[in-house]
Every structure is written in C-alpha cells, then in structure tokens.
C-alpha cells in the first residue's frame, strides 16, 4: 500500500511556495513573450486588462485570413475623330494616355453568405461643360462621379465565393453633347436636317449584343456575348481579380456635330462604340 512520505510541515510550506512561484513566473514570461510579438488579440486583452493598462505594443487590429484585391481598369480609347472634336471644343486632350471614364459595379459574394456591391471608377475626368445649339446655350450637369478620383481597386477579405460584373453594370462617360437628328423633306427646298433631341454629357450603359436561340448575333450593340465579363467562382484566398475594358469610344457625326439619324437603327444600337471586357485571375 502506497503511503505518503512524511515531511515536516515547514518543508511542505516551502515546497508549495516554490511551485506557486515557478507557475507565476512561467505565466508572466509567457505573457510577456506573446505581448512582444503582438500575439494577443486586443479584444482578449481588453477583457483581461482595463484600457488604460494595455501596453501600446499589444494593441493591434484583428487580421483577416487574407485578401482578394479586385481591380477594374479602363483601357478603352477615344476614337481619333472624337478626339479632334473634343480638342476643338476646348477640352484638354494632350494626355497621350487619355482613356474614357468608366463606372462599373461588381457583385461580390462571401463564404458566410453575405454579399455586397463594389463600385469602381477609372479614366479621364474630362467633360464638355456647355454648347450652343441654334443660338441657345445648353449647360451640362457634371455628375459627382466624374470629379471623384479614380477608384480602380477595392480589397475584400477572404473568403470570396463569387465575383460578377453584370452585363448592364458597365457605364462609359460620353464627354460631349450629342444629338438625334432627323431628315425632313420640305417641299421646294429639299431635305433638311433637324436636331430632334440634344443629350448632355453623361454616363451611358453599355449593352450586350442581341443573339437568337442559336447564338447568332441579331443586333450588334456595344459588347459581344463572348467579350462580356464572365462570373468568377470559388476564388482561392489571396487571388487577384482584374477586369479591363478594351475598345474604342466612337461617335458618328451629322453636319459636324456628334450624333446619329433617328432612322439609322444600326447606328443607334452600336452607339457609343465597341468594347470588350477582359477578365484575369492570378
């Protein structure tokens, strides 16, 4: 039968005191070691210590698992004729890298079921402010998104389940006034061109081509169905997503003024140019 060895009472007391001391020293040492490496979660520390006693080096924000940066870059160009017209209207087109202003919305879904919309802006901040038509001055209303700095990226925390840029979520800024014209046959005078509607500079939603059941293009609009932004699914944490808009902002001219005839359905459908979205994930 096991018997506890007999020890004098004062030795037992010394032993207990030694054990308690060693235990405290280990705990304090561990605490100091962790605090030196920013290892302690501030939320945990705040629970354990009053705010005024938290050492500054322990304070830190909680970190996510990783990040997924999402970029949208406007790589589209202005058509040469449009650039010349803009220069004639007094717009500064001296930047050789001038790109149309583009506004895009992307839907981002996360692994916890939450979702959000992210809006991106990129491209030049130029706009015609006024024009004179038939002796009357028309003034443009400049949208706030034109004057904001480019926001060509946003960074989400992991994990991202999907990123989707909807077909109607890409808008390009048309920086000049343009018109809808009609041809009127006037007796004894001939055909006269009249301005039917004047549009101020504005963001314009790009449209996908219309296709039939077999996938053949019926109406050519701004973006081909194969050039649209596809959905990105099951992203690995730490990936980078980049969308870029390629193409040309192009306008036809009627009597030297940007616009189209109302009866020219093809020109209306294809207004204001042809674009493609390139999607890359790395």
């Amino acid at each position: 039968m096991f018997q506890k060895p007999f020890l004098p009472r004062h030795l037992l007391f010394v032993g207990r005191a030694l054990r308690a001391g060693v235990r405290s020293a280990v705990l304090v040492g561990l605490g100091l070691a962790l605090a030196g490496c920013d290892a302690l979660n501030p939320a945990f520390v705040e629970v354990m210590l009053p705010a005024e006693r938290i050492p500054s080096q322990v304070q830190a924000a909680d970190n996510p698992r990783g990040h997924v940066p999402i970029f949208f870059v406007s790589n589209a160009r202005f058509d040469g004729a449009l650039l010349q017209y803009m220069a004639a209207q007094g717009l500064d087109v001296s930047d050789a890298n001038l790109r149309p202003r583009v506004r895009v919305q992307a839907n981002v879904e996360f692994s916890d079921g939450s979702a959000r919309v992210m809006e991106f802006l990129d491209g030049a901040q130029i706009s015609q402010s006024a024009t004179v038509v038939e002796g009357e001055a028309e003034v443009a209303v400049i949208p706030p998104d034109l004057n904001r700095p480019s926001l060509n990226n946003q960074v989400t925390q992991c994990d991202v389940v999907s990123v989707l840029v909807a077909p109607n979520a890409i808008e390009v800024y048309i920086p000049v006034f343009w018109g809808e014209f009609e041809q009127v046959d006037i007796q004894d005078v001939g055909i006269e061109i009249r301005l039917r509607e004047l549009y101020p500079p504005q963001f314009y939603v790009l449209q996908l081509d219309e296709v039939d059941a077999r996938g053949d293009t019926v109406t050519l609009r701004n973006i081909g169905v194969r050039d649209a932004a596809g959905p990105i699914l099951d992203l690995t944490c730490g990936s980078v997503v980049l969308y870029s808009l390629e193409g040309t902002l192009q306008m036809s001219f009627v009597s030297g003024f940007p616009g189209y005839f109302t009866e020219n359905e093809a020109a209306i459908a294809a207004f204001p140019g042809r674009f493609a979205v390139k999607t890359q994930v790395r």
Binding site: L34, C37, D38, A39, L40, N41, A43, F44, Q59, A60, A61, D62, N63, P64, R65, G66, H67, V68, P69, F71, V73, N75, N107, F110, S111, D112, G113, S114, A115, R116, V117, M118, D122, R148, P149, S150, L151, N152, N153, Q154, V155, T156, Q157, C158, D159, T236, C237, G238, S239, V240, L242, S244, K278, Q280, R282
Partner: protein, 219 residues
C-alpha cells in the same frame, strides 16, 4: 485527488488549444498574424515594399453601415510659370462597409509615396471634419445615407515614421458610448517588416502589381 487534478489540467489544456487553433473570426486569444507567422506564412497581410503598395483597411465593428472618407496626400510637382513648385495633392475616396459578416471590411491599395493618410476630406481637422458617415440600415443595394461624425483620430504620417511603403494601415470603427455618434475610430499599422517574406499561398500584392503593369493601369 491528484488524478482528478491531472485530468482537469489535460481537459483545460486541450480545450484552450482547440480554442486558439480553431481560428474563427473573432474572440480568439492568438492574433492571426501571429498564427500566420508561427506557421510559416500562408497569405500576405501587408503588401510589402516590393509591391509598391500600401493597403488601407477599413473595418466596421458597429451595427450600422459606415462609409469611410479616406484621404491620401502626396507631394506633386507643379509648373507655375517657369518655376516648378511642390504642392500637396489630396485624393479622397468614399468606401462603404456593412455590419454583416465579411462585408464589414473593405480595403484600398494606393501607390507608395503618400505623405499622410487619414479620415475626412481635410486631414488638418480630424476633430471636426466628418471622417465617416453612419447609416441607419444595412443592405447590399442600398446607398448609405447617414450622418457624418468626425473620426477624432489623427492621420498617419509617413514623414513622422508612422508607416512606410508596403505597410498596412487600419482604421477601425467600433461602437463607444459617450462620444458623438457613439462611434470611435482607432488606427493601427501592420508593418510589412513584421510579416514573413515567403508564403505558401498566392503572393497577393506582388501578383496585383505584376497584373497592373501588364495591362497598363495605375493605382
């Protein structure tokens, strides 16, 4: 008695190990960067100097949608007549966060070379200038319209050594009673130097720089 104490100790140790290594979203003893560091690095949490970026993280720990007004200042050389002068250019971004799950945070990558980064359109008045707008309802499609409150946190200044190229800057809004708007902001810096140099996962920010260089986009 000794056996019972030993069993209890083992159970407590196992429970605490599970608690810390479970790595959920919040309320764990160990900080993720520490775990990441001790396990050799999986994903970068700071861009690093080689990427040429600073990451600005905006974290919303409140129960409201919050729009952060982030201003980045940098020196630019301007031509005034025949003289070149150095001026401070400011760029202000409006970034939305929501109280739901992983939408409570958003980040922004800016090129290195900034001199100050903070909240509010005018960084000289952090006590007065609205640094965030607090909305009253959450939703993915809703535009945040709320009341502005000053961040009451000084901008981080690169010249004062607050941050360097490649660091992550964090502005965290949390509920605090007794201050205007009941929201207080704290700022933190996660230095790139504190992070591992190699990662087993994707090298996020260097990949981002390389992609941007290929398509010709700035940031």
């Amino acid at each position: 008695m000794l056996r019972i104490r030993a069993c209890l100790t083992v159970v407590l140790l196992a429970a605490s190990a599970g608690w810390t290594s479970g790595c959920g979203e919040n309320a764990y003893i160990l900080n993720r960067s520490f775990v990441n560091y001790t396990q050799g690095g999986v994903f970068p949490l700071a861009p690093g100097q080689s990427s040429g970026f600073n990451l600005i993280r905006l974290v919303n720990l409140t129960d409201n949608p919050v729009q952060f007004i982030v201003t980045v200042e940098r020196f630019v050389v301007a031509q005034e007549g025949e003289e070149e002068t150095t001026q401070v250019e400011t760029q202000t971004y409006q970034l939305d966060t929501f109280p739901n799950g992983l939408t409570n945070e958003v980040g922004l990558l800016v090129n290195c070379g900034s001199i100050r980064i903070g909240l509010g359109e005018n960084l000289n008045f952090p006590q007065d200038e609205p640094g965030l707008y607090v909305g009253v309802s959450a939703g993915t499609d809703e535009i945040i319209a709320g009341f502005g409150v000053p961040a009451r946190v000084n901008p981080l200044d690169a010249r004062a050594g607050n941050y360097g190229c490649g660091d992550t800057l964090i502005f965290q809004a949390a509920r605090q009673d007794g201050v205007p708007g009941n929201i207080a902001v704290k700022s933190y810096v996660l230095p790139a130097a504190s992070q591992p140099t190699e990662y087993s996962g994707p090298d996020t920010f260097n990949n981002a720089r390389s992609l941007l260089n290929r398509v010709g986009g700035g940031s």
